[in-house]
Structure formats: structure tokens, C-alpha cells
């Protein structure tokens, strides 16, 4: 019994690239670098050429960053790898765990599921932008007092979802807080603490 097997062909990233990069493929074909009838025959050199890059302005924590990104780079990757904003974590890279949660135009969103090139003109807030100078956000203070982080890997995401909730609802009920954080997994199982911290911050702010 013999059979030839490559590694898994289609990763999520190449799938994302396929979705977001339709225009890129067309552009390459029109330059004649890869002829349509040869597109089936994969060559590494040709693949490298299809990697589109663009310059994009990102407004993050009130500052504007001009960065060159690959079209397939997610916002989470650019934040962490290019801008050193590593408080945003990647836990699953597929929109399930919430460790990469940031606020985009006031809403909590998974930054692993947003391409960086889509972010032009949007206001992005990450965990690093929450404190005002040395003064922590009341939600961060509540997370310290209520033991919000155990291992701490999900904490930034929990806080950003909590912040998004408190921005639009200053007096959430416990059920509302749970619902608002339910897209943020915590394998340490510290859910009681994270909800308590959000409710305490709401009380403090009010």
C-alpha cells in the first residue's frame, strides 16, 4: 500500500487570502507573470510573486502608524509582529477564543479575523491604549482587585470586551456582562472573577 501525500493543502490563511485576494490574483495575471493556463501548475517562485503588499495607515490608540503589510496579514499579526503591541494575544487564530479582541470603531472584534488592509480609516483601541498615562482604566484596576487574570493570556481580550460593553452600557446586569464576555474563553476558568471585575468597574465609574 503506497500513496503519495502532501501536507494539508489549504490552510485557513490561504483560504483567507483567497477570499480577500481576488483582486491580487487578477492583477498578477494581467501583468503576464503567470499565464492563466499555467495557474494550475504550482511553482514556489510564482507563489511568492502573488503575495500582494500594500502600505496602509492604521490609527491605533490615538496614534497613526504607516505600515507596509502583506494582504494576508491579519490585524492581530500586524499589531504584534510589526508594531510590538503584544498585549493582544493570538489563542486560536480562527475567531473562537477571543484572546485577540480589540475595539474597532467602538466595537469589540477579533483582530485575528480582520485583515490589516481592511483597517484604513478605522479607530483601533488595544489593551495598551486603555490606561491614561500612568492612570489605569477603572476596568483594569477592577481586574487587579478581583483577580481577573490567572495565567493572563485571555485577560486583554476579556478587558477589551468588558470595555466595549461599559462604553455602551454603564450599568450592565450580571447576565448582560456574561453575555458580553461570552466570546472570550478562559481555560483557567476564571469567569466568575472576570464578570465580577466588569460589574465592579461599572459601579466604580458610576
Amino acid at each position: 500500500m503506497e500513496d503519495e501525500k502532501k501536507g494539508k493543502g489549504l490552510s485557513r490563511r490561504s483560504f483567507l487570502k483567497g477570499l480577500g485576494g481576488g483582486a491580487i490574483g487578477t492583477a498578477v495575471i494581467s501583468t503576464g507573470l503567470v499565464k492563466p493556463d499555467q495557474a494550475e501548475a504550482y511553482s514556489p517562485e510564482a507563489a511568492a510573486l502573488t503575495r500582494g503588499r500594500s502600505a496602509v495607515s492604521l490609527k491605533i490608540n490615538g496614534k497613526t502608524y504607516r505600515v507596509e503589510v502583506e494582504h494576508r496579514d491579519t490585524l492581530a499579526e500586524v499589531l504584534r509582529d510589526q508594531l510590538g503591541l503584544t498585549g493582544t494575544k493570538i489563542g486560536c487564530d480562527r475567531g473562537e477564543c477571543g484572546a485577540c479582541t480589540v475595539m474597532i470603531n467602538g466595537r469589540n472584534m477579533y483582530s485575528c479575523s480582520q485583515l490589516a488592509v481592511w483597517m484604513a480609516g478605522k479607530e483601533i483601541l488595544t489593551i495598551e491604549g486603555l490606561a491614561k498615562g500612568d492612570k489605569l482604566d477603572p476596568l483594569q484596576e477592577a481586574f487587579i482587585e478581583h483577580d481577573g487574570p490567572q495565567c493572563g493570556f485571555c485577560t486583554s481580550g476579556q478587558i477589551m470586551s468588558g470595555k466595549a460593553l461599559l462604553t455602551k452600557n454603564t450599568k450592565p446586569t450580571e447576565a448582560q456582562a456574561r453575555r458580553a464576555l461570552s466570546g472570550n474563553l478562559c481555560r483557567c476558568g476564571n469567569y466568575n472573577r472576570e464578570v465580577a471585575a466588569v460589574l465592579a468597574a461599572a459601579t466604580k465609574a458610576g
Binding site: E4, I90, C92, Q150, C151, R178, S182
Partner: protein
């Protein structure tokens, strides 16, 4: 120990973690956050077959992809991975491959996208071999052979053997019984699923290897790496400062640390290897599944006279840990025998996950004890109270044992006597249930080390090898140091988890940090206090033993107004260094933390959906060093138990042997929405052997949680669920019968 009785100034409070600020601001640097100049990114290619011989690997296309720097595989990087000293040798790349997910190659490239793309360009010819997924099938003589010694795993020696343990006289025990019950309980493979995916960063400088590992133990990681790479210990440095959870699957050094080191070596550049979430679910390990067959003899009044356990556990393709089952530990069993067969199959490895041998077997045993109570017409509270463990193996006393108080206080808090009803007796579509179970975890002493440097400004710097995987260990060590020194907690700085800087630590697993390293911190504090008092005695013109140190002041015990600031004492010496290596042991006693858990549930008999309406966890862990994170750990252990009880199971397609739900969404880990408020009760009596009277906290809470919930579901429905997870479809089917 006298120290257990004195008033504490720092121990036993609700103290926020000393590194909480870094954790809530995003400043805490985890391994994956590191960026080194010239660093490459690496990814791993895994076998799509459950059992196959690799005939050839062609990496030429992958190597041609611009940006690819190196491809390693069994042909050019055959490094043994001894995985903590276990006898079954394994390599970082194996041929044949033995499960879907067994690593076959790793690529280092300029960025992670290129590395990922390159994986798809590696061409491998496999010759498929027959495979076996079921552990009972694997034990049959004609089953495909996975390990050289056979599919029954090697034990402590180099030969296949079941785990056996017995005491008393089993035959007499069953003869003394009025009734004998037999049944089988089944649990499934559950992944640790820590939030931080596995990641490793390695670099070589002048022949010295540094691995920034996301490990629970820097010392044992260094030992393993040095041994397997043939390096002296001085040429290996392992660093782990912040790590995003592990729950037992980041002990020691893992194969990806080795791959990272190897890729860094061949490329001459630093390398960061990242796992995807799927890699994490299939490429490392989860909790071993089990099939537990019990025979239990009881008196008519419910007293257990004998227990026989015959079990098979599935440890997957490679041996990493024991495959044992220890859920009977919390009961008084005068006559006992167990035979556990850990078995190799062509599936994902089954190894350590928080309290490795416990929640699955507590589920089996405590469910069965609850069932027997029902058959005998005894209230489960009485049944558990009557059979709770009093002495280890019915003969050796414990260092302390307040399991009785855990049961009594927990039952009182949840209102057991008012709320318990006959199983399945409630009418209506939504049925109330209440259940309980016993748990805990061994408290053992062992080798620990610590160094404390007291600075001329009166602050102190504690060096310990411990990593902080989220338990708050760093804070615990600082609190113990502050208490033992007599210096405020705010004046203590901790450096941890760096083998070039910090002394030995056993590794943060098995609830060992406080009992192993805690005594060393106390002894190091005593060492430096002696030096301080010797110097201060001259200044204050008294004998050293007449002095004490508190709040940063050295003073005469009989006249505290005679004092001098600590900083001034130290300044003459530059700084003062206290150090200690301790290795305490127990003689004629055994140690254990104990727990009794209680839950109320509401079972919707139409949908099979279960809501936990109340949860009470009562724990005897001795003195609680820091209540705030200790409570969080109890809560978290329960939440992990909830996942195991209701939803989590790694499913494998029986035809292809491919795991079909290796991700958070499909493996269904608990979210905010399934989590009740967990009420924590600490029954606090100082243990005479524990540092400041403390026993262990980390592992115990998960141990009784699954059984507690299962027993509450039985009380609600009158149906016994003998196989995990207890999913809505199983409940609806059972109720409709």
C-alpha cells in the same frame, strides 16, 4: 512547627498578584511575544495517517520557496525526545509515524506565512501500516504493534506491565460484604486546551543554547534538552517568565522546543516555532481516556468492605505519563486491588492534565458509590460521610485530614438536608437535582531551593526557579518570603524561571510548588535573618537571638524601642545573601489536600440541557497562603470539570483515524454562559508539615467536579450516566426510554 500557630502579617490575606499590573496592561511578556533580531518563524507538518512508514521525504520544492531557510525531518534531525526520563524512547520525528498528528517535518522561514506555505510543498511517500484505535482491540494478540514492547505500555521497568496496587485481603473483604455490585464507567480524551498555543523561541550563541520555552518547569526542561542534545547543563539556558496556562501539558521540554533548537542550529538564526490551535489539540496530549470496571462489596448499612478495579486507559501512540487511575483515594477501603492497563493505540497521546489520574476515576468511583447508596436506600451524604478516607490505605495517618469538615460545611452551605430528594422524584419538565462527591490531591514534600538578596535600602530580591503558570506561584513565593523575612510584601522583588539566574525548582506541576519550594524560601529567609541579626547585635549591643525583624526594622524583642532600620544594617556589607536548599520528607505519615463538592442542577428533560444553579466547593488545603488566587484556582478547577462533564471529548473518525474536532468551537470548552458562581469554602487548619501550615491547592478542585455534576444529574433524572461527556442527546435518550 511553631510558625503554623503564629499571627501572620502577610500570609492568609486576600492579596492581588504581585504581577497583576503587567497582566492587565498587556506588558507581561509571554514567550510568543518575544522578537529577536533576525528571528525566523517555524511550523510543523504532521502525519495524515494513523500508522505508516515514511518511504521518502522530498523537500526540494519547499526549499525553493523564497524565504524558506531550513526543513528538518527524521532523515536529517533524529533527536531523541526522552520526555522527562520515561523509558520509552521517542524521537522528535518518528518513522514509522504512529498517529494522525505525529510530526514529520518542521520548516523555518522568513515569516510564518511562508513557513506554513512550505509545509504544503513537502512531498512524502508513506507506506500505510495497519492501525488500531480502540484500547481493548489493541490488547488482542493479533493487533497491530505500536510500541516495540507491545501495546500494553511499559511501566517503571523496561517491560510491559499493568499498574497494580493492593492491600488487605480482597477475598475476605468480599466475603464480609452483604451485597456486591459490579459496573463499568467510561471517560473520554479531553484536551488541556490552555489559551496560549505552544510556542518556543531558541537561539545559539557561542555553542550555548537558550530556549525561551512556555514550560511549567525550567529546570527539568534544561535537564532534558541537555541530555538529548548531548550538551553540558552549563550550555543550556531555559527561560519562562510568563506562560499562558498548561494544566500539565507544558511540563518539561517538549518536542517543539527541540525542533526550534534544531532549526536555530542549522540556520544559525533565532527561531520562533508556533503551534496552531489544531497542532495544539492533536500534537501534544490530553487527559487519558479510561474504561473502569469496578466490583464493590458493601455492608447493608453502606460500609465498603472491598473494592476491585480493573481498567484500561488509552495513553495513545507514545508513553509520556503513567495512565493510572486514583479516584478511589478518598475512601476508606479496607481491602483493595487495582489493575490498570495503560495501552498504546494509534491516537493522540494521553498524558498529564491537571490531577492526571483523578477526575476521570473520581467520576467512575463516586458515581458508582452514589448508585450503590441509591440501591441500598441510603442518603448519599450519609454514604460519602461513612466511607470517607480516614487513614492512608487504612493504616497510615495523614499529616492533617479535615475531609469530615469539608463534607459537613459544604452540605450545610448548599442546604443538603432541606434540598435532597429521592432520585427522579420531581415532577414537571424541568427537574431539580443535587449531588456531591469527594476529591483532593496528594501533598508531598521534596527538593526546593531559593536565594534571597537583601539590599542596602531594606528591599529584598527573591530568586526562585518556579514558573507561574497562572496559579499565582510567584506571588505565593513572595508572600512566604515577606512573612519569613519580616519585610513588607511591597519591598520584595521576584526573579523566577531562568536557569541561568534562579536556583533549582521541581517544576510547577503536581501541586508541588508550595510544598517543595515554600520551605526553601523560609529557610533562605532564616539564613539571611541570621546574618542580619549578627551584624545588628553589635550595633544594638545585644545577642543576635534577642533580635527580631518586622516591617523593615530590626529590634530588640524585649524592648522594641531599641531598633535600627534594616537598610542600615545591610549597607555595611553591600548586600546580604541568604540561600537554602531543602529536601523535607514525611516519615510514617502521608499528606493530602481534601475536598467535598456539592452541586444543584436543573435538567430540562425536553432538551437535555443542564443548568448548574448552585455550586459549593469545600476544601481542606491547610493554611491558605493567599486567599484571592487560591479561590480563583478552586473556581477554575470546577469550570474545567464542567467542560469534562458536559461537552468535551476529542472525537476521532473511526475510518480515517483523523481527529475531527481539534478546536475550541467543536471541542466545546465551557464559556462564561455555562459557568455558575462557584462558592468556595476553605476549611483552614494549619498542616503541621506544610510551609506556614499550607498544603496544596492547584490540582484538587478539578478532581470531584465531574462526579459531583453527574450525581446531581442522577438525583434530578433517576438515570445514571456511565459514559462521559453527559451531552443533551444522551440525557434525552435516557429519559425517553
Amino acid at each position: 512547627m511553631a510558625q503554623a500557630e503564629k499571627e501572620f502579617s502577610v500570609v492568609g490575606k486576600r492579596t492581588p498578584r504581585i504581577d497583576a499590573y503587567e497582566r492587565v496592561t498587556g506588558q507581561a511578556q509571554y514567550t510568543g511575544d518575544l522578537q529577536l533580531p533576525g528571528m525566523l518563524y517555524a511550523r510543523v507538518l504532521r502525519s495524515p495517517h494513523p500508522h505508516a512508514k515514511i518511504i521518502s521525504i522530498d523537500t526540494s520544492k519547499a526549499e525553493k520557496l523564497p524565504g524558506v531557510k531550513a526543513v528538518i525531518h527524521h532523515g536529517n534531525a533524529q533527536i531523541p525526545w526522552s520526555s522527562g526520563g520515561h523509558t520509552h524512547r521517542r524521537f522528535i520525528f518518528n518513522n514509522p509515524v504512529r498517529f494522525v498528528g505525529d510530526p514529520v517535518a518542521a520548516v523555518a522561514a522568513a515569516d510564518r506565512h511562508i513557513a506554513e506555505e512550505a509545509l504544503g510543498l513537502i512531498e512524502i511517500k508513506y507506506e500505510k501500516l495497519p492501525h488500531v484505535l480502540d484500547p481493548n482491540e489493541a490488547l488482542k494478540p493479533d493487533a497491530p504493534k505500536i510500541a516495540p514492547e507491545g501495546n500494553l505500555s511499559v511501566g517503571k521497568g523496561n517491560f510491559s506491565a499493568p499498574i497494580e496496587e493492593s492491600w488487605g485481603d480482597l477475598d475476605n473483604g468480599f466475603k464480609a460484604a452483604d451485597r456486591i455490585f459490579e459496573d463499568t464507567y467510561i471517560t473520554k480524551h479531553v484536551n488541556n486546551a490552555q489559551l496560549e498555543p505552544r510556542v518556543s523561541v531558541a537561539k545559539w550563541e557561542a555553542g550555548k543554547l537558550t530556549v525561551f520555552a512556555s514550560t511549567q518547569g525550567v529546570s527539568n526542561a534544561r535537564t532534558d534538552i541537555a541530555k538529548d542534545f548531548g550538551l553540558p547543563l552549563s550550555k543550556v539556558r531555559v527561560v519562562s517568565k510568563y506562560m499562558g496556562g498548561g494544566f500539565g501539558n507544558k511540563n518539561q521540554a517538549q518536542d517543539y522546543d527541540y525542533m526550534t533548537a534544531m532549526l536555530a542550529k542549522v540556520t544559525g538564526q533565532p527561531v520562533k516555532l508556533e503551534f496552531t490551535r489544531e497542532d495544539d489539540y492533536i500534537g501534544m496530549h490530553g487527559r487519558w481516556s479510561s474504561e473502569q470496571h469496578y466490583k464493590i462489596g458493601v455492608k447493608q448499612d453502606g460500609t465498603i468492605t472491598a473494592v476491585q478495579l480493573a481498567a484500561v486507559t488509552n495513553i495513545g501512540a507514545y508513553r509520556k505519563q503513567s495512565g493510572n487511575l486514583s479516584g478511589t483515594d478518598f475512601y476508606n477501603i479496607p481491602n483493595f486491588k487495582k489493575v490498570i492497563k495503560p495501552v498504546h493505540t494509534n491516537t493522540v497521546v494521553g498524558a498529564n492534565y491537571r490531577a492526571p489520574a483523578y477526575p476521570q476515576s473520581v467520576f467512575g468511583f463516586a458515581s458508582f458509590v452514589d448508585q450503590i447508596a441509591f440501591e441500598l436506600g441510603i442518603n448519599p451524604l450519609e454514604m460519602f460521610e461513612k466511607n470517607r478516607i480516614q487513614k492512608y490505605k487504612s493504616k497510615t495517618p495523614f499529616t492533617s485530614n479535615y475531609l469530615d469538615e469539608c463534607i459537613a460545611e459544604g452540605a450545610k452551605r448548599i442546604g443538603w438536608n432541606e434540598k435532597w430528594h429521592k432520585p427522579g422524584a420531581m415532577s414537571g419538565a424541568k427537574k431539580h437535582g443535587i449531588g456531591m462527591a469527594l476529591g483532593g490531591y496528594p501533598f508531598r514534600p521534596g527538593l526546593g531551593a531559593a536565594t534571597i538578596r537583601v539590599n542596602p535600602d531594606g528591599t529584598a530580591h527573591l530568586l526562585v526557579g518556579v514558573t507561574d503558570i497562572g496559579t499565582g506561584a510567584k506571588s505565593t513565593m513572595a508572600i512566604i518570603a515577606a512573612e519569613a523575612l519580616g519585610i513588607p510584601l511591597s519591598q520584595i522583588q521576584v526573579t523566577n524561571g531562568d536557569t541561568d539566574v534562579t536556583p533549582y525548582s521541581v517544576g510547577e506541576s503536581g501541586s508541588r510548588t508550595t510544598p517543595f519550594t515554600g520551605p526553601a524560601v523560609i529557610a533562605a529567609a532564616e539564613d539571611v535573618r541570621k546574618q542580619i541579626f549578627a551584624i545588628a547585635a553589635g550595633r544594638l549591643k545585644v545577642k543576635p537571638e534577642e533580635l527580631d525583624l518586622r516591617d523593615g526594622q530590626v529590634f530588640v524583642k524585649s524592648d522594641p524601642s531599641q531598633k535600627t532600620p534594616l537598610g542600615r544594617v545591610v549597607a555595611q556589607s553591600g548586600d546580604l545573601i541568604g540561600r537554602a536548599t531543602t529536601n523535607t520528607s514525611f516519615k510514617d505519615v502521608e499528606g493530602k489536600s481534601f475536598a467535598a463538592h456539592f452541586a444543584e442542577v436543573e435538567v430540562d428533560t425536553w432538551t437535555g440541557h443542564v443548568t448548574i444553579t448552585r455550586y459549593v466547593a469545600a476544601h481542606d488545603s491547610g493554611t491558605i497562603i493567599n486567599r484571592l488566587p487560591a479561590e480563583s484556582q478552586i473556581k477554575g478547577g470546577v469550570v474545567q470539570g464542567i467542560g469534562m462533564a458536559f461537552s468535551e471529548e476529542l472525537l476521532t473518525d473511526t475510518l480515517t483515524a483523523i481527529p475531527i474536532n481539534p478546536n475550541y468551537r467543536d471541542a466545546k470548552v465551557p464559556t462564561h454562559l455555562e459557568t455558575p458562581e462557584v462558592e468556595v469554602i476553605f476549611i483552614e487548619h494549619p498542616d503541621p508539615y506544610g510551609p506556614f501550615g499550607g498544603k496544596v491547592v492547584g490540582e484538587p478542585p478539578i478532581t470531584p467536579a465531574v462526579a459531583t455534576i453527574a450525581n446531581a444529574i442522577f438525583n434530578a433524572t433517576g438515570k445514571r450516566f456511565k459514559e462521559l461527556p453527559i451531552t443533551p442527546d444522551k440525557i434525552v435518550r435516557a429519559i425517553q426510554v
